[in-house]
Structures are given as structure tokens and as C-alpha cells.
Symmetry: C2
Subunit: 457 residues, 2 copies
């Protein structure tokens, strides 16, 4: 088989002990993963040896304070902050991308711009920012609010936040740093700019005090699937991480986004769409199903109902666990996720227990239980039929689940010519096949604006 022009991009979405809610109880799971740097270092090195494009970390800025007894049966409250973990992982890896989630709702753009720019320099151009909004009351209560911000308000702030961060990254032009010891000129004063952003949510002058990175800017990643989220992603995202249950959904989303980006003067290739995949892999179908069953049996019903309630944005603990999903009030939180779950329950006539068992691993993402060939078949189909540019692999438990994928599926994809055997470049941007952006500011502002006189504000 000849090598196809494009190959599948792969992210390793690392979540503590694994994505399955009971993963930490798995006999081979690293139960203290949430606070164990060596565990993450090992995972990052294994993913890099397998030539994954990136490792990926989710984030939340709080601990869910409802239902404490149930929460205490999960590993969810025991985490490391991604933007502190990723630099440490940068130091023990050389080529793999490092994508961290950071909220636009409870941060300041100057702080975040610096941190990602620093990670990008430390890693030699391997940083990515998964831009999210924070959509829960328990997070809001850690930041002077009683309630989460409204959906539209969060996205409006997120859009402006993005523009400020990118603007700050662009305050240094490429090659601004001269560092000429003889002349005594450290940087070219004409290549450092202020931003002077004054918007509805932010007023930020700049410039950034961290230089431009080897890949121009960190890669911007997003996951919003609502109408507002899609518009923001079409305008700003370079990678979209998304949850789909069926190829139909995936193709529809893919086509929609690739069309939307054109309206912002971007090329469809400027955005890589990577659905999450939750693979449970066995040498035979029976072995894969047995592995999955083993994990499912470790879920306490309290934990299952609580997980579902949290994801669906409504308390289901009062309903019979073997009864149907009740009608739900519309939520201000993740709207798209609630609808996804309701559709799934209605489509397949699942009761509450069946629904929580269904999402306890993949959490709304595509779940594949089978042999390496079967997993590869599905990835290939989604990739070739216009549902995905790549996939974010959500291993059920760690490290074993990731090992299964690396040892089984990666070689299978390579045999089919669908996955790399060596990194194409040294930066995340090069490996993902994304353009290196030019600084925007330098074109619009011909003269150096780093002068108080010309900008008396």
C-alpha cells in the first residue's frame, strides 16, 4: 500500500489513572497517579516513543462539592495543575507536543500568554493551549462568584481573551532578539510592539516579557461544540477536540467546521479535527470485552449515577437506577454535552444504569471495544470518510490501556500507511501540519509602538 498524502494525527489524552471512572481500582492501575510525576513522565515518554503528536491534559478549577461521599470513591479530586505539570514533562521529552487546558473564565490573558510562551520556549516549540470556559458553580465559587457566568458571556469573554493572548504573543517579531555583545544592542527596538488592547472585558497594554517561540505561537486548541463554541473555534482554533458517538455526527461536525473556517478567511487545512476515542483493546474480541467488563464491574452505583448527573447537569440520585432517564430542565452548563447524552438514551432506550455504564469510560466520546484491527478499522473509516483528521486517545486505565494502543493499534495503522514512523518536524505545529503564523501586529503598526510619547495612555 502506498503512503497516503495525509496521515492520522494522534493525541494521548492523559487523565490520572485513566478515563474510566473506576480505572484507579484496576489491579494494574497507578492509584496515586494524580500526584505522581514519575507516572506522567513514563506515559509521556511512551507516547513520544510511539510518535504521538501530543499529550493532552484536561483541567478543572475546583472540586465538585456536592455528593462528597461519592466523590471520595473516585480519583477526580486528586490532580496536578496542567500548566505546572507540562513544563516538567517538557524537560523529560524532546519531540512530543504538550497541550494543556486553561480557562479563559478565571484567568488574566497576560498571565496565561506568558505561561504558554514560556512552555513553548522551554520545549522548543511544542506547546498547545486548549482554550476552555469554566461552566460550573463549584468552580465559580473559588473565584469570587456564587454562580457560573452565562454561556454567551463566557464565550464572549473567551473570544476576546484569545485575541489578547495571540496579540501578546505577536508583540515580539521573529528575529527581534539581536543579542549583539559588541554593539550592546540586545534587541531591535523596532521589532517589539505594544498591543494597546482596549475591549469590553480586557484592557491590556503589552508587550509580553517572553520572547517569540520557535513555532511562532503555541497551537490553539478548542473543544466547544455549541453554536457559539463552533463559531469561536472556526475563527480561532487550530485543533478541535470533540466528542462524537457516531460517524454520522462526526462527518456532519467536520463538514460544518471546515466550511465555517472559510468565512474567516482560513483554509480548511488550518484546523485539525480530532474526536476523542476510548479504546478497550484485546488480542481477541472476547478478551477486549472481558477487559471492559472487568472495569465496569468496579463501578459503584453511587459513583455511576453521580458521574451521569454531573455530566448531564441534573441530579439523578432520586430516580430509580433501573428506570428511564427523566425529562431534564435546560442547563446553562455544557449544553451540547447534555443533548448528546439525552439523544443517546432515547435512541437506544437506555435506563439510568445502562446510560452511566455507557458513558463511564468514554464520557460521550466514541467507545471501541475490540482487537487492534477493529480499532484501526474504525479510525481509518472516520479518517477516510471525512469525520476526523486524527484522534485523541482516551485510555481506559493507565499505563496499561495506553500500552495496548501503542503495541496493538499503532503498528496496525503503520502497516496501513496511516501513521508516521518518525516525527516530520521538531515543533508541534510542524508535526500537525499547521502553518507557522506571522506576527499580525508588525504589518498593521509600521512604527515601533514601544514609546510612551506616541501612546500617552
Amino acid at each position: 500500500m502506498s503512503k497516503p498524502l495525509k496521515q492520522i494525527k494522534l493525541g494521548a489524552f492523559l487523565m490520572q489513572t485513566g478515563h474510566h471512572i473506576a480505572a484507579w481500582r484496576h489491579p494494574q492501575a497507578q492509584a496515586d497517579a494524580g500526584a505522581n510525576f514519575a507516572h506522567y513522565a513514563e506515559l509521556a515518554c511512551r507516547a513520544e516513543a510511539a510518535k504521538f503528536d501530543a499529550i493532552f491534559f484536561a483541567d478543572s478549577v475546583g472540586v465538585k462539592t456536592s455528593d462528597p461521599a461519592t466523590l471520595a470513591r473516585t480519583a477526580r479530586a486528586d490532580t496536578l495543575e496542567p500548566l505546572t505539570l507540562l513544563p516538567a514533562l517538557a524537560a523529560v521529552t524532546e519531540r512530543i507536543g504538550l497541550i494543556g487546558t486553561a480557562s479563559t473564565t478565571f484567568n488574566e490573558p497576560y498571565n496565561l500568554a506568558r505561561k504558554f510562551a514560556t512552555l513553548d520556549l522551554i520545549s522548543g516549540g511544542r506547546a498547545g493551549w486548549n482554550l476552555v470556559t469554566s461552566n460550573s458553580d463549584f468552580e465559580a465559587k473559588n473565584f469570587n462568584y456564587e454562580k457560573q457566568l452565562e454561556h454567551e458571556q463566557r464565550y464572549e469573554r473567551a473570544g476576546e481573551f484569545h485575541d489578547v493572548v495571540v496579540g501578546l504573543w505577536d508583540t515580539w517579531e521573529d528575529n527581534a532578539l539581536v543579542r549583539n555583545k559588541e554593539s550592546g544592542v540586545f534587541y531591535d527596538v523596532n521589532k517589539l510592539h505594544v498591543l494597546n488592547h482596549k475591549g469590553k472585558h480586557f484592557s491590556v497594554r503589552g508587550p509580553l516579557n517572553v520572547a517569540r517561540s520557535p513555532q511562532g505561537r503555541p497551537v490553539v486548541v478548542q473543544a466547544g461544540a455549541s453554536e457559539t463554541g463552533r463559531e469561536l473555534a472556526a475563527r480561532t482554533a487550530e485543533v478541535i477536540f470533540v466528542a462524537h458517538q457516531t460517524l454520522g455526527e462526526a462527518k456532519s461536525f467536520y463538514a460544518d467546521i471546515k466550511e465555517r473556517v472559510k468565512r474567516y478567511g482560513r483554509s480548511p487545512d488550518d484546523v485539525k479535527i480530532m474526536p476523542g476515542i476510548f479504546p478497550v483493546i484485546g488480542r481477541t474480541q472476547a478478551e477486549a470485552e472481558e477487559k471492559f467488563e472487568q472495569l465496569q464491574n468496579l463501578i459503584h452505583p453511587e459513583v455511576g449515577v453521580s458521574l451521569l448527573s454531573n455530566m448531564i447537569g441534573a441530579d439523578l440520585s432520586g430516580y430509580p437506577v433501573d428506570g428511564p432517564l427523566p425529562d431534564l430542565p435546560e442547563t446553562n452548563g455544557g449544553q451540547s454535552r447534555q443533548q448528546l447524552l439525552v439523544d443517546l438514551a432515547r435512541r437506544e432506550n437506555l435506563n439510568i444504569r445502562q446510560l452511566y455504564l455507557r458513558i463511564s469510560g468514554a464520557r460521550g466520546h466514541q467507545q471501541i471495544v475490540g482487537t487492534p484491527a477493529r480499532v484501526a478499522d474504525q479510525l481509518q473509516q472516520w479518517f477516510e470518510e471525512g469525520g476526523a483528521d486524527g484522534f485523541n486517545i482516551m485510555s481506559p486505565w493507565l499505563p496499561g490501556g495506553l500500552d495496548d494502543f501503542i503495541e496493538g493499534v499503532v503498528p496496525e495503522l503503520r502497516r496501513r500507511g496511516l501513521f508516521r514512523t518518525e516525527y516530520e518536524g521538531t515543533t508541534l505545529r510542524e508535526n500537525l501540519g499547521l502553518k507557522q503564523p506571522k506576527p499580525l501586529i508588525s504589518k498593521d503598526v509600521p512604527s515601533p509602538v514601544l514609546q510612551v510619547d506616541s501612546h500617552p495612555a
Copy 2:
């Protein structure tokens, strides 16, 4: 000589190419230090091999936008963000402490508490937080303000910020994490608490989503020398980094702080006072002076005047460089630093050029130009006469200046029994001789507060 009961604590204050303003032009300086992780990794490893207690990083959340041409002759705008750099350094070191500066003025306590807690877990209990306030307009303009906050307002916010951060670190009790795979209990629900802080500046519920560290809490470091700064430090600091020109000043400050801490129910040993020292070291006095002269000759007068203006909080560019320091208006910025510089100029009758030459390296800290024995003599005197518990070493240029200290002064201090030959412990707290704090919350709140019902807010 018998080993004294207490020994000198040593920090390596690492600043890009070095603390001297012209350091980057030094023939052996790493000019691209500000964006070069390998440079910092090398320095951290050397400091660790020499058994320094900690490496220390300053921080600023902006680029000074006045006088751009002068700034472009310095390395000051080209930095890495300390809380992103330190985790990467944690991954390449094993025992040395990792102290980073972070502003209480333009951060949220929940975000900062998580980051330091994560650094502490990643490093096995080696994290320290240098708590500062941001006192310049150019920083304020990056965070929606036109002017810096008033001195008293900054410190009031800083005090409450500290209390929230420590409170969040205390939301997890020691040994809360059970991780019992058989019973399915991940943590003891009675050992995780909410904070429910409601204050003037912050409303933060908690708990933190990062577990308690091996040293209980990251070490809290401060540098404020004003009356308000001293009070805050006496109440909250475990290490104080301070600038003194004379032993008299150092003794007076030391005695004052050690007395003040008692009023907060703390022991004088709970606070370690570490003045900054800028050592230029040669095998002979003449060689040391020659090295210093070499650096001084690299300062452009524009850079010197600008540096002084910035430190003193007033624009001196209009005054004759060989004339006297003019009378200055009182500043809202670093009050204590301005007074220090004015006193120095008056005491020694220095003109502007002489004053900027004087502070271009040490920036108000004690400058010692001499042989290793002479440097060791001064450190010993300050230590034994009640002026210091240790010192923060501000190498003139890097890496050479730090090498000079490690190869010359460290062995000399060891010969005198004044510095360790091996780390006493594995955590920063153990090496500094600081107590391991008990969580405060668990004593005050007997029942688990992680229950929505009992706290309906």
C-alpha cells in the same frame, strides 16, 4: 574548628545572564539566557551539586515601556515565567529548593495555590513561593488598570491572598488519600474540607483540587521591607529576602523581625532572614577588582541612568550624569528601596553616575569585591553577629559568577564549618530548618465541611 549548631543557608538568585546590568555583554555570559532552558538547567544542577538550599527567581508582569531604546540595550525584557520554568527545573534536579516569585496583585489565590501545590508534589516537597505585590504602572496596564494600586491596598490584598492560599493548601489533611482499591475508597471524606473564605478582596470556597505536599505546604518567602511589609512578613513569611548595604542595617532589621514574629505567636526560628549578596570574586583582590571593572565598563550611560531612575521611582534622564542626585518626590512604588538609595547617595556623596555604577550590580544589596576568604569573612560576620541566617547569592554574570562562588567561597565556608557538605533532608523545609506545619482547618472544623447541605452558600 568544631561544627557550629547552625549553619548558613544559601540561595542562588538566578537572573538570566546575571545580576549586573551589563552582564549579558560579558564575553563568557550566555547572552540568550532569558530564553534558554538548558542554561537554567545547568545552573540549577551546579547549585544543587554545591548543596545550595534553593534557587530563586524574581518576576515582573510586564515590560517597562518608557525609554525603549535604553531597555533594548538590556536583557531585562527577555524572560521566562518562573512558575513555568521551575517545574521543568524540578524534573532535572532532586534536592535543591525551588523558589518562584508570584504577584498577589494580579493573580487569583485559587490559581496560585494550585500551581505551587503542584510544583511541590512534582518536586517532592521543594517548592517555595516568594509572595510579592506588583508596584508599577507598566504592570498594572497589562491587567485592566491605568495605575498601580496604592501601597497599603496592595499589602492588604496580599495579606488576605496569603491567608486564602494557605487555607487552600490546608483543605487536604495529611494522609487524607487512602487509595484503597479493594474497598473502593479513594480518600477519607472526613479529611477533605472546604475553606469558605469570605473576605474583603476574595470569596473562595475550596477545597483545592491538588493534594497536600510532602512538606505540608510550600515555603512562604517575602521581601517587603516597609513597615507594612515587615508586619506582613512577621505574620506570614518563613524566609525573608532583603537588601542591606551595611551590617548595622542588617542587624537592626534582623532584630526587628525576630521580635515582631513573637507577637504573632511564632518562634524567631520560624523565619530565616537571607540578605542578598552580590559577590565579585577573584583569586586576589586585584583580580576581583579587575573583573568588576570589566563589567562596569560595559554599562552604557543611558542604561545606567535608566536603571537608577527605575529603581528610585523618578526620571533622572534630564539631570547631569556627573551632578548630584536631586530631591525626589515620594513614590507610591517601592518606598523602602527609594530611601535606601537616597541614603546611600547622601552618605557617600555620590553623583548620579557614581550611584548608578554602585547599584548596577547589586541593586541596593550588599556588594563584595574580593577573594573567597574576604567574601566568606563578611558572610561569617553577618551570620555570627545577628545580621543574617543565610544569604541569597546574586551572581554578577552567569554561569561564571556562580562558578566562582561555588569553587571559591563554598569550600572556604565549609572549612569554617559554616556550610553543609550534604543536604539534611529531602524537602526545602527540612533543609532550611523550618517546622512542618499542621493543617489549620482540621482543628477548627471538626466535621467534614465538604457537604453542600451544611453549607448552603
